[in-house]
Amino acid sequence: MLEVINFYLIPGLVLGSIYALAAAGLSLAYGVLRFANFAHGELMTFGAYAALVAVGLLGISPWAAVPFAIAATIPVILLADRAFFAPLRRAQPAVLLISSFGVALMIRAVVYFVWGPTPQGYARGFTPPLLWEGLRIQPRHLYILAGALAAAFLVHLLLSRSRAGRAMRAMADDPDLARITGVPVDGVIRLTWAVSAALAAVAGVFLAIDTELSPMLGFNVVLAAFAAAILGGIGRPWGAALGGLLLGVAEELSTYPWIGEGPLLEPAYKTGVAFAVLVLVLIFRPQGLFRGMN
Protein backbone atom coordinates (compact mmCIF):
# COMPACT_ATOMS: atom_id res chain seq x y z
CA MET A 1 0.00 0.00 0.00
CA LEU A 2 2.74 2.43 0.99
CA GLU A 3 4.54 1.50 -2.18
CA VAL A 4 1.52 2.49 -4.26
CA ILE A 5 1.30 5.81 -2.44
CA ASN A 6 5.00 6.61 -2.52
CA PHE A 7 5.85 5.59 -6.04
CA TYR A 8 2.59 5.93 -7.92
CA LEU A 9 0.00 8.07 -6.14
CA ILE A 10 2.32 10.91 -5.11
CA PRO A 11 4.01 11.21 -8.52
CA GLY A 12 0.54 10.94 -10.03
CA LEU A 13 -0.73 13.82 -7.93
CA VAL A 14 2.35 15.86 -8.83
CA LEU A 15 1.93 15.24 -12.54
CA GLY A 16 -1.79 15.78 -12.11
CA SER A 17 -1.33 19.13 -10.44
CA ILE A 18 0.91 20.26 -13.32
CA TYR A 19 -1.77 19.12 -15.76
CA ALA A 20 -4.31 20.91 -13.60
CA LEU A 21 -2.45 24.22 -13.81
CA ALA A 22 -2.02 23.90 -17.56
CA ALA A 23 -5.60 22.81 -18.11
CA ALA A 24 -7.06 25.55 -15.92
CA GLY A 25 -5.24 28.17 -18.00
CA LEU A 26 -6.44 26.59 -21.24
CA SER A 27 -9.98 26.30 -19.99
CA LEU A 28 -10.07 29.89 -18.78
CA ALA A 29 -8.92 31.19 -22.16
CA TYR A 30 -11.41 28.93 -23.90
CA GLY A 31 -14.28 30.11 -21.73
CA VAL A 32 -13.72 33.79 -22.40
CA LEU A 33 -12.24 33.72 -25.91
CA ARG A 34 -14.04 30.68 -27.32
CA PHE A 35 -11.12 28.97 -28.94
CA ALA A 36 -8.61 26.31 -28.03
CA ASN A 37 -5.21 27.97 -27.70
CA PHE A 38 -2.69 25.50 -29.06
CA ALA A 39 0.16 27.83 -28.14
CA HIS A 40 -0.50 27.11 -24.45
CA GLY A 41 2.15 24.36 -24.40
CA GLU A 42 4.74 26.71 -25.89
CA LEU A 43 3.83 29.32 -23.28
CA MET A 44 4.73 26.69 -20.67
CA THR A 45 8.03 26.04 -22.43
CA PHE A 46 8.79 29.73 -22.74
CA GLY A 47 8.02 30.28 -19.05
CA ALA A 48 10.34 27.44 -18.07
CA TYR A 49 13.22 28.88 -20.14
CA ALA A 50 12.55 32.39 -18.84
CA ALA A 51 13.00 30.96 -15.35
CA LEU A 52 16.26 29.35 -16.51
CA VAL A 53 17.52 32.79 -17.52
CA ALA A 54 16.56 34.24 -14.15
CA VAL A 55 18.25 31.32 -12.37
CA GLY A 56 21.41 31.84 -14.41
CA LEU A 57 21.57 35.61 -14.14
CA LEU A 58 20.50 36.08 -10.54
CA GLY A 59 21.70 32.81 -9.05
CA ILE A 60 18.32 32.17 -7.47
CA SER A 61 16.45 28.89 -7.10
CA PRO A 62 13.94 27.98 -9.82
CA TRP A 63 11.14 28.44 -7.27
CA ALA A 64 12.13 32.05 -6.78
CA ALA A 65 12.29 32.43 -10.57
CA VAL A 66 8.57 31.71 -10.99
CA PRO A 67 7.57 35.40 -10.85
CA PHE A 68 10.14 36.15 -13.56
CA ALA A 69 8.73 33.36 -15.70
CA ILE A 70 5.24 34.79 -15.30
CA ALA A 71 6.40 38.31 -16.08
CA ALA A 72 8.19 37.13 -19.22
CA THR A 73 5.38 34.92 -20.51
CA ILE A 74 2.47 37.35 -20.22
CA PRO A 75 3.86 39.82 -22.81
CA VAL A 76 4.36 36.96 -25.28
CA ILE A 77 0.68 36.04 -25.37
CA LEU A 78 -0.43 39.69 -25.29
CA LEU A 79 1.77 40.34 -28.31
CA ALA A 80 0.41 37.27 -30.10
CA ASP A 81 -3.12 38.37 -29.30
CA ARG A 82 -2.51 41.85 -30.63
CA ALA A 83 -0.81 40.65 -33.79
CA PHE A 84 -2.72 37.48 -34.67
CA PHE A 85 -5.80 36.77 -32.58
CA ALA A 86 -7.35 40.24 -32.30
CA PRO A 87 -7.73 40.70 -36.09
CA LEU A 88 -9.46 37.30 -36.18
CA ARG A 89 -11.71 37.92 -33.17
CA ARG A 90 -14.89 37.46 -35.21
CA ALA A 91 -13.56 34.52 -37.25
CA GLN A 92 -14.57 30.87 -36.91
CA PRO A 93 -13.07 29.06 -33.91
CA ALA A 94 -11.21 26.73 -36.29
CA VAL A 95 -9.40 29.70 -37.85
CA LEU A 96 -8.30 30.90 -34.43
CA LEU A 97 -7.23 27.41 -33.43
CA ILE A 98 -5.03 27.13 -36.52
CA SER A 99 -3.59 30.60 -35.95
CA SER A 100 -2.76 29.60 -32.39
CA PHE A 101 -0.95 26.60 -33.82
CA GLY A 102 1.07 29.05 -35.91
CA VAL A 103 1.87 31.07 -32.82
CA ALA A 104 2.96 27.86 -31.11
CA LEU A 105 5.41 27.10 -33.91
CA MET A 106 6.79 30.64 -33.78
CA ILE A 107 7.41 30.51 -30.04
CA ARG A 108 8.95 27.06 -30.36
CA ALA A 109 11.26 28.30 -33.12
CA VAL A 110 12.41 31.16 -30.90
CA VAL A 111 13.09 28.72 -28.07
CA TYR A 112 15.16 26.46 -30.36
CA PHE A 113 17.02 29.46 -31.73
CA VAL A 114 17.88 30.99 -28.34
CA TRP A 115 18.41 27.94 -26.13
CA GLY A 116 19.11 25.13 -28.59
CA PRO A 117 17.64 21.66 -28.78
CA THR A 118 19.72 20.06 -26.00
CA PRO A 119 17.79 19.35 -22.82
CA GLN A 120 18.96 21.39 -19.85
CA GLY A 121 18.20 21.50 -16.16
CA TYR A 122 18.00 24.07 -13.41
CA ALA A 123 21.23 23.07 -11.63
CA ARG A 124 20.19 21.39 -8.42
CA GLY A 125 21.94 19.08 -6.07
CA PHE A 126 20.56 15.85 -4.73
CA THR A 127 17.99 16.35 -2.01
CA PRO A 128 16.97 13.42 0.12
CA PRO A 129 13.26 12.64 0.28
CA LEU A 130 11.29 13.55 3.37
CA LEU A 131 10.22 10.51 5.37
CA TRP A 132 7.19 10.32 7.62
CA GLU A 133 5.60 7.14 8.93
CA GLY A 134 6.78 5.21 5.91
CA LEU A 135 5.63 7.89 3.49
CA ARG A 136 8.38 9.37 1.37
CA ILE A 137 8.06 12.48 -0.71
CA GLN A 138 10.61 14.55 -2.58
CA PRO A 139 10.72 18.12 -1.28
CA ARG A 140 10.24 19.38 -4.84
CA HIS A 141 7.08 17.32 -5.13
CA LEU A 142 5.78 18.84 -1.94
CA TYR A 143 6.53 22.34 -3.26
CA ILE A 144 4.84 21.61 -6.58
CA LEU A 145 1.70 20.38 -4.83
CA ALA A 146 1.67 23.38 -2.52
CA GLY A 147 2.36 25.79 -5.39
CA ALA A 148 -0.42 24.34 -7.54
CA LEU A 149 -2.83 24.54 -4.62
CA ALA A 150 -1.86 28.17 -3.98
CA ALA A 151 -2.27 29.05 -7.66
CA ALA A 152 -5.68 27.37 -7.77
CA PHE A 153 -6.73 29.27 -4.66
CA LEU A 154 -5.60 32.60 -6.13
CA VAL A 155 -7.45 31.96 -9.39
CA HIS A 156 -10.53 30.94 -7.43
CA LEU A 157 -10.39 34.18 -5.42
CA LEU A 158 -9.94 36.21 -8.60
CA LEU A 159 -12.89 34.59 -10.34
CA SER A 160 -15.33 34.41 -7.47
CA ARG A 161 -14.57 37.48 -5.41
CA SER A 162 -13.16 40.20 -7.62
CA ARG A 163 -14.90 42.59 -9.96
CA ALA A 164 -12.53 41.66 -12.79
CA GLY A 165 -13.20 37.97 -12.23
CA ARG A 166 -16.93 38.59 -12.34
CA ALA A 167 -16.46 40.36 -15.67
CA MET A 168 -14.47 37.37 -16.95
CA ARG A 169 -17.25 34.99 -15.98
CA ALA A 170 -19.83 37.31 -17.51
CA MET A 171 -17.82 37.32 -20.76
CA ALA A 172 -17.66 33.54 -20.68
CA ASP A 173 -21.45 33.41 -20.22
CA ASP A 174 -22.38 35.87 -22.93
CA PRO A 175 -19.89 38.24 -24.59
CA ASP A 176 -22.57 40.32 -26.31
CA LEU A 177 -24.50 40.90 -23.13
CA ALA A 178 -21.23 41.81 -21.39
CA ARG A 179 -20.63 44.50 -24.01
CA ILE A 180 -24.12 45.91 -23.58
CA THR A 181 -23.54 46.01 -19.85
CA GLY A 182 -20.54 48.26 -20.39
CA VAL A 183 -17.75 45.76 -19.77
CA PRO A 184 -14.54 46.89 -21.49
CA VAL A 185 -14.28 43.74 -23.53
CA ASP A 186 -10.69 44.26 -24.72
CA GLY A 187 -9.45 44.79 -21.20
CA VAL A 188 -11.11 41.63 -19.97
CA ILE A 189 -9.59 39.69 -22.87
CA ARG A 190 -6.11 40.95 -21.99
CA LEU A 191 -6.63 40.06 -18.35
CA THR A 192 -7.79 36.58 -19.30
CA TRP A 193 -4.69 36.05 -21.43
CA ALA A 194 -2.51 37.29 -18.60
CA VAL A 195 -4.00 34.86 -16.09
CA SER A 196 -3.90 32.01 -18.61
CA ALA A 197 -0.25 32.72 -19.47
CA ALA A 198 0.67 33.03 -15.79
CA LEU A 199 -0.81 29.59 -15.12
CA ALA A 200 1.06 28.21 -18.14
CA ALA A 201 4.33 29.70 -16.93
CA VAL A 202 3.91 28.22 -13.44
CA ALA A 203 3.03 24.84 -14.92
CA GLY A 204 6.04 25.03 -17.24
CA VAL A 205 8.51 25.84 -14.48
CA PHE A 206 7.08 23.12 -12.23
CA LEU A 207 7.27 20.58 -15.03
CA ALA A 208 10.85 21.57 -15.83
CA ILE A 209 11.79 21.30 -12.14
CA ASP A 210 10.31 17.83 -12.01
CA THR A 211 11.80 16.69 -15.32
CA GLU A 212 14.12 18.74 -17.53
CA LEU A 213 13.98 21.66 -19.91
CA SER A 214 13.54 20.95 -23.58
CA PRO A 215 11.92 22.91 -26.40
CA MET A 216 9.15 20.30 -26.51
CA LEU A 217 8.52 20.50 -22.75
CA GLY A 218 5.10 22.10 -22.98
CA PHE A 219 3.99 20.55 -26.23
CA ASN A 220 4.48 17.09 -24.75
CA VAL A 221 1.81 17.76 -22.12
CA VAL A 222 -0.50 20.21 -23.87
CA LEU A 223 -2.62 17.47 -25.38
CA ALA A 224 -3.06 15.88 -21.97
CA ALA A 225 -4.00 19.33 -20.68
CA PHE A 226 -6.62 19.58 -23.42
CA ALA A 227 -7.90 16.18 -22.40
CA ALA A 228 -8.12 17.37 -18.80
CA ALA A 229 -9.94 20.55 -19.84
CA ILE A 230 -12.47 18.57 -21.86
CA LEU A 231 -12.81 16.06 -19.03
CA GLY A 232 -13.74 18.88 -16.67
CA GLY A 233 -16.21 20.41 -19.13
CA ILE A 234 -14.28 22.91 -21.24
CA GLY A 235 -14.56 26.52 -20.11
CA ARG A 236 -14.71 25.57 -16.42
CA PRO A 237 -11.33 26.14 -14.78
CA TRP A 238 -12.21 24.14 -11.66
CA GLY A 239 -13.39 21.20 -13.69
CA ALA A 240 -10.23 21.38 -15.76
CA ALA A 241 -8.08 21.31 -12.62
CA LEU A 242 -9.92 18.26 -11.30
CA GLY A 243 -9.64 16.63 -14.70
CA GLY A 244 -5.89 17.26 -14.66
CA LEU A 245 -5.45 15.68 -11.23
CA LEU A 246 -7.50 12.70 -12.33
CA LEU A 247 -5.48 12.16 -15.50
CA GLY A 248 -2.14 12.49 -13.72
CA VAL A 249 -3.12 9.92 -11.12
CA ALA A 250 -4.62 7.62 -13.78
CA GLU A 251 -1.42 7.75 -15.82
CA GLU A 252 0.81 6.84 -12.91
CA LEU A 253 -1.47 4.17 -11.47
CA SER A 254 -1.72 2.51 -14.89
CA THR A 255 1.94 1.49 -14.59
CA TYR A 256 1.51 -0.30 -11.25
CA PRO A 257 1.74 -4.11 -11.42
CA TRP A 258 -1.94 -4.60 -10.52
CA ILE A 259 -2.02 -7.99 -12.26
CA GLY A 260 0.99 -10.33 -12.18
CA GLU A 261 4.62 -9.23 -11.99
CA GLY A 262 5.12 -6.57 -14.63
CA PRO A 263 3.52 -3.12 -14.80
CA LEU A 264 -0.07 -3.14 -16.00
CA LEU A 265 0.98 -0.76 -18.73
CA GLU A 266 4.59 -0.16 -19.77
CA PRO A 267 5.54 3.36 -18.57
CA ALA A 268 6.36 4.33 -22.16
CA TYR A 269 2.66 4.01 -22.99
CA LYS A 270 1.27 5.79 -19.97
CA THR A 271 0.66 9.10 -21.77
CA GLY A 272 -1.87 7.17 -23.84
CA VAL A 273 -4.01 6.76 -20.72
CA ALA A 274 -5.07 10.39 -20.83
CA PHE A 275 -6.40 9.91 -24.32
CA ALA A 276 -8.09 6.64 -23.55
CA VAL A 277 -9.90 8.42 -20.71
CA LEU A 278 -10.68 11.32 -23.04
CA VAL A 279 -12.21 9.05 -25.67
CA LEU A 280 -14.34 7.32 -23.03
CA VAL A 281 -15.53 10.68 -21.71
CA LEU A 282 -16.34 11.95 -25.18
CA ILE A 283 -18.39 8.83 -25.83
CA PHE A 284 -20.24 8.63 -22.53
CA ARG A 285 -20.24 12.13 -21.05
CA PRO A 286 -19.41 14.59 -23.86
CA GLN A 287 -20.49 17.50 -21.67
CA GLY A 288 -17.59 16.73 -19.30
CA LEU A 289 -17.52 14.87 -16.02
CA PHE A 290 -18.62 17.67 -13.75
CA ARG A 291 -21.41 19.33 -15.67
CA GLY A 292 -24.44 19.89 -13.52
CA MET A 293 -22.41 19.51 -10.32
CA ASN A 294 -22.18 23.23 -9.67
Binding site: A170, D176, V183
Partner: protein, 242 residues
Protein backbone atom coordinates in the same frame (compact mmCIF):
# COMPACT_ATOMS: atom_id res chain seq x y z
CA UNK B 1 -38.37 67.60 -23.99
CA UNK B 2 -37.20 64.99 -26.47
CA UNK B 3 -34.39 62.84 -25.08
CA UNK B 4 -33.91 60.54 -28.04
CA UNK B 5 -34.65 61.33 -31.67
CA UNK B 6 -33.69 58.83 -34.35
CA UNK B 7 -34.27 60.01 -37.91
CA UNK B 8 -34.21 58.05 -41.15
CA UNK B 9 -32.46 54.96 -39.80
CA UNK B 10 -31.31 52.56 -42.49
CA UNK B 11 -29.73 49.43 -41.06
CA UNK B 12 -29.58 45.66 -41.36
CA UNK B 13 -27.37 42.62 -41.11
CA UNK B 14 -24.86 41.75 -43.80
CA UNK B 15 -26.02 42.87 -47.21
CA UNK B 16 -29.73 43.14 -46.54
CA UNK B 17 -31.29 46.26 -45.06
CA UNK B 18 -34.10 45.69 -42.61
CA UNK B 19 -34.78 49.32 -41.75
CA UNK B 20 -35.51 51.61 -44.68
CA UNK B 21 -35.78 54.93 -42.87
CA UNK B 22 -37.25 54.63 -39.40
CA UNK B 23 -37.95 57.53 -37.06
CA UNK B 24 -38.28 57.13 -33.30
CA UNK B 25 -38.44 59.67 -30.53
CA UNK B 26 -38.90 59.47 -26.78
CA UNK B 27 -39.11 62.14 -24.11
CA UNK B 28 -38.14 61.83 -20.44
CA UNK B 29 -40.77 60.06 -18.37
CA UNK B 30 -42.55 58.84 -21.49
CA UNK B 31 -43.33 55.24 -22.47
CA UNK B 32 -43.10 54.71 -26.24
CA UNK B 33 -44.18 51.30 -27.50
CA UNK B 34 -43.09 50.03 -30.92
CA UNK B 35 -45.38 47.45 -32.46
CA UNK B 36 -45.57 45.77 -35.83
CA UNK B 37 -45.61 42.39 -37.52
CA UNK B 38 -42.70 39.95 -37.46
CA UNK B 39 -39.81 41.16 -39.58
CA UNK B 40 -40.96 44.78 -39.39
CA UNK B 41 -37.58 45.79 -37.95
CA UNK B 42 -38.67 46.55 -34.39
CA UNK B 43 -35.74 44.80 -32.71
CA UNK B 44 -33.30 46.05 -35.33
CA UNK B 45 -34.42 49.62 -34.66
CA UNK B 46 -33.64 49.19 -30.95
CA UNK B 47 -30.28 47.60 -31.75
CA UNK B 48 -29.41 50.46 -34.08
CA UNK B 49 -30.01 52.92 -31.25
CA UNK B 50 -28.16 50.74 -28.73
CA UNK B 51 -25.05 50.53 -30.93
CA UNK B 52 -25.33 46.81 -31.67
CA UNK B 53 -26.18 47.36 -35.31
CA UNK B 54 -24.38 50.13 -37.13
CA UNK B 55 -26.87 52.30 -39.02
CA UNK B 56 -25.93 52.74 -42.67
CA UNK B 57 -27.79 56.03 -42.85
CA UNK B 58 -29.70 58.29 -40.56
CA UNK B 59 -29.01 59.98 -37.28
CA UNK B 60 -29.51 59.11 -33.64
CA UNK B 61 -29.54 62.18 -31.46
CA UNK B 62 -29.52 61.56 -27.74
CA UNK B 63 -29.59 64.47 -25.36
CA UNK B 64 -28.50 66.75 -28.21
CA UNK B 65 -25.52 64.58 -29.22
CA UNK B 66 -25.12 62.39 -32.28
CA UNK B 67 -24.51 58.82 -31.08
CA UNK B 68 -25.18 56.78 -34.24
CA UNK B 69 -22.52 54.12 -34.70
CA UNK B 70 -20.97 54.57 -31.25
CA UNK B 71 -19.91 51.25 -29.68
CA UNK B 72 -22.47 49.45 -27.54
CA UNK B 73 -20.20 49.35 -24.49
CA UNK B 74 -20.10 53.16 -24.43
CA UNK B 75 -23.87 53.52 -24.15
CA UNK B 76 -24.18 52.58 -20.48
CA UNK B 77 -22.16 55.56 -19.31
CA UNK B 78 -24.22 57.88 -21.53
CA UNK B 79 -27.33 56.69 -19.71
CA UNK B 80 -28.79 54.37 -22.34
CA UNK B 81 -29.66 50.91 -21.09
CA UNK B 82 -30.75 48.15 -23.41
CA UNK B 83 -32.37 44.83 -22.48
CA UNK B 84 -32.27 42.25 -25.28
CA UNK B 85 -35.21 39.94 -25.78
CA UNK B 86 -33.33 36.73 -25.18
CA UNK B 87 -30.14 35.88 -23.36
CA UNK B 88 -30.49 38.95 -21.19
CA UNK B 89 -29.05 37.55 -17.96
CA UNK B 90 -25.72 35.88 -17.21
CA UNK B 91 -26.97 32.38 -16.35
CA UNK B 92 -23.98 31.11 -14.37
CA UNK B 93 -23.72 34.27 -12.28
CA UNK B 94 -25.86 34.76 -9.21
CA UNK B 95 -28.77 37.21 -9.12
CA UNK B 96 -26.80 39.77 -7.15
CA UNK B 97 -23.75 39.25 -9.37
CA UNK B 98 -25.93 39.95 -12.40
CA UNK B 99 -27.09 43.16 -10.80
CA UNK B 100 -23.51 44.13 -9.95
CA UNK B 101 -22.62 43.61 -13.63
CA UNK B 102 -25.20 46.29 -14.36
CA UNK B 103 -23.10 48.71 -12.32
CA UNK B 104 -19.80 47.51 -13.77
CA UNK B 105 -19.08 50.79 -15.53
CA UNK B 106 -19.51 52.79 -12.28
CA UNK B 107 -18.87 50.51 -9.29
CA UNK B 108 -19.40 53.37 -6.85
CA UNK B 109 -23.10 53.33 -7.66
CA UNK B 110 -23.51 49.59 -7.01
CA UNK B 111 -24.73 49.71 -3.41
CA UNK B 112 -27.42 52.28 -4.10
CA UNK B 113 -28.40 50.47 -7.28
CA UNK B 114 -28.87 47.18 -5.43
CA UNK B 115 -31.12 48.83 -2.87
CA UNK B 116 -33.27 50.32 -5.64
CA UNK B 117 -33.37 47.05 -7.59
CA UNK B 118 -34.57 45.06 -4.58
CA UNK B 119 -37.11 47.74 -3.71
CA UNK B 120 -38.54 47.64 -7.24
CA UNK B 121 -38.46 43.82 -7.50
CA UNK B 122 -38.69 42.37 -3.97
CA UNK B 123 -38.80 38.82 -5.43
CA UNK B 124 -35.19 39.19 -6.49
CA UNK B 125 -34.04 40.00 -2.97
CA UNK B 126 -35.02 36.51 -1.79
CA UNK B 127 -32.97 34.95 -4.59
CA UNK B 128 -29.85 37.06 -4.51
CA UNK B 129 -27.54 34.04 -4.14
CA UNK B 130 -29.32 31.85 -6.72
CA UNK B 131 -27.83 31.39 -10.18
CA UNK B 132 -29.72 33.48 -12.72
CA UNK B 133 -30.01 30.40 -14.90
CA UNK B 134 -32.23 28.78 -12.29
CA UNK B 135 -34.85 31.56 -12.37
CA UNK B 136 -38.23 31.35 -14.08
CA UNK B 137 -38.82 33.31 -17.29
CA UNK B 138 -40.63 36.11 -15.46
CA UNK B 139 -37.95 36.38 -12.81
CA UNK B 140 -35.29 36.53 -15.50
CA UNK B 141 -37.05 39.45 -17.17
CA UNK B 142 -37.30 41.23 -13.83
CA UNK B 143 -33.60 40.60 -13.26
CA UNK B 144 -32.71 41.84 -16.75
CA UNK B 145 -34.72 45.04 -16.26
CA UNK B 146 -33.33 45.54 -12.76
CA UNK B 147 -29.78 45.14 -14.08
CA UNK B 148 -30.42 47.73 -16.79
CA UNK B 149 -31.62 50.16 -14.11
CA UNK B 150 -28.55 49.77 -11.88
CA UNK B 151 -26.89 52.99 -13.06
CA UNK B 152 -30.18 54.94 -13.26
CA UNK B 153 -30.24 55.33 -17.04
CA UNK B 154 -32.12 58.19 -18.67
CA UNK B 155 -33.37 55.92 -21.45
CA UNK B 156 -34.40 52.30 -20.96
CA UNK B 157 -34.86 50.17 -24.09
CA UNK B 158 -36.76 46.90 -23.69
CA UNK B 159 -37.05 44.33 -26.46
CA UNK B 160 -40.25 42.31 -25.93
CA UNK B 161 -39.99 42.12 -22.15
CA UNK B 162 -43.16 40.03 -21.88
CA UNK B 163 -42.38 37.46 -24.62
CA UNK B 164 -43.30 34.00 -23.38
CA UNK B 165 -44.48 35.20 -19.96
CA UNK B 166 -47.70 34.26 -18.20
CA UNK B 167 -50.44 36.94 -18.13
CA UNK B 168 -49.72 37.55 -14.45
CA UNK B 169 -46.08 38.42 -15.19
CA UNK B 170 -47.07 40.52 -18.23
CA UNK B 171 -49.30 42.65 -16.04
CA UNK B 172 -46.52 42.94 -13.47
CA UNK B 173 -43.91 43.95 -16.04
CA UNK B 174 -46.19 46.57 -17.63
CA UNK B 175 -46.97 47.99 -14.19
CA UNK B 176 -43.26 48.20 -13.43
CA UNK B 177 -42.63 49.93 -16.76
CA UNK B 178 -45.12 52.65 -15.78
CA UNK B 179 -43.47 52.91 -12.38
CA UNK B 180 -40.04 53.29 -14.02
CA UNK B 181 -41.34 55.99 -16.38
CA UNK B 182 -42.95 57.79 -13.46
CA UNK B 183 -39.48 58.18 -11.95
CA UNK B 184 -38.52 60.25 -15.00
CA UNK B 185 -36.85 57.57 -17.13
CA UNK B 186 -37.74 57.46 -20.83
CA UNK B 187 -38.84 53.97 -21.87
CA UNK B 188 -38.66 52.70 -25.46
CA UNK B 189 -40.24 49.27 -25.64
CA UNK B 190 -40.79 46.82 -28.49
CA UNK B 191 -43.81 44.56 -27.92
CA UNK B 192 -45.63 41.72 -29.66
CA UNK B 193 -48.17 41.87 -26.90
CA UNK B 194 -49.58 44.93 -28.64
CA UNK B 195 -52.88 45.64 -26.93
CA UNK B 196 -51.85 45.65 -23.27
CA UNK B 197 -48.61 47.43 -24.20
CA UNK B 198 -50.40 50.23 -26.07
CA UNK B 199 -52.79 50.53 -23.15
CA UNK B 200 -49.94 51.72 -20.93
CA UNK B 201 -48.09 53.65 -23.65
CA UNK B 202 -47.91 57.43 -23.93
CA UNK B 203 -47.17 56.97 -27.60
CA UNK B 204 -47.30 54.00 -29.94
CA UNK B 205 -45.28 53.59 -33.12
CA UNK B 206 -46.30 51.08 -35.78
CA UNK B 207 -43.50 49.71 -37.95
CA UNK B 208 -44.03 47.57 -41.02
CA UNK B 209 -41.42 46.42 -43.50
CA UNK B 210 -38.76 48.66 -42.06
CA UNK B 211 -40.80 51.90 -42.25
CA UNK B 212 -42.98 53.93 -39.90
CA UNK B 213 -46.60 53.18 -40.68
CA UNK B 214 -48.39 55.11 -37.95
CA UNK B 215 -47.73 56.98 -34.75
CA UNK B 216 -50.20 58.26 -32.20
CA UNK B 217 -51.04 58.26 -28.52
CA UNK B 218 -51.32 54.69 -27.23
CA UNK B 219 -55.09 54.62 -26.61
CA UNK B 220 -55.73 56.43 -29.92
CA UNK B 221 -53.83 53.73 -31.82
CA UNK B 222 -55.85 51.09 -29.98
CA UNK B 223 -59.06 52.79 -31.07
CA UNK B 224 -57.91 53.18 -34.69
CA UNK B 225 -59.87 50.66 -36.81
CA UNK B 226 -57.18 50.40 -39.50
CA UNK B 227 -54.53 49.56 -36.92
CA UNK B 228 -56.90 47.09 -35.33
CA UNK B 229 -57.48 45.45 -38.70
CA UNK B 230 -53.72 45.31 -39.41
CA UNK B 231 -53.12 43.48 -36.18
CA UNK B 232 -56.16 41.32 -36.15
CA UNK B 233 -55.34 40.42 -39.75
CA UNK B 234 -51.78 39.49 -38.76
CA UNK B 235 -48.55 39.89 -40.63
CA UNK B 236 -49.98 39.01 -44.06
CA UNK B 237 -52.34 41.97 -44.09
CA UNK B 238 -49.57 44.35 -43.08
CA UNK B 239 -47.19 43.08 -45.70
CA UNK B 240 -49.89 43.11 -48.37
CA UNK B 241 -50.14 46.84 -47.90
CA UNK B 242 -46.40 47.51 -47.57
Amino acid sequence: MTLLAARGLVAGYGEADILHGVDLSVAAGQVVVVIGPNGAGKSTALKAVAGLVRPRQGSVRYDGQEIAGQPAESMVLRGLAYVPQERNVFPSLGVEENLLMGAFARPGAAREGLARAYALFPDLADKRRDAAGSLSGGQRQMLAVARALMLTPRLLMLDEPTAGLSPRFCTLIFAKVREIAASGIAVLMVEQNARPALAIADRGVVLAMGRNRAEDAGPALLANPEIGRLFLGGAAAAEGEG
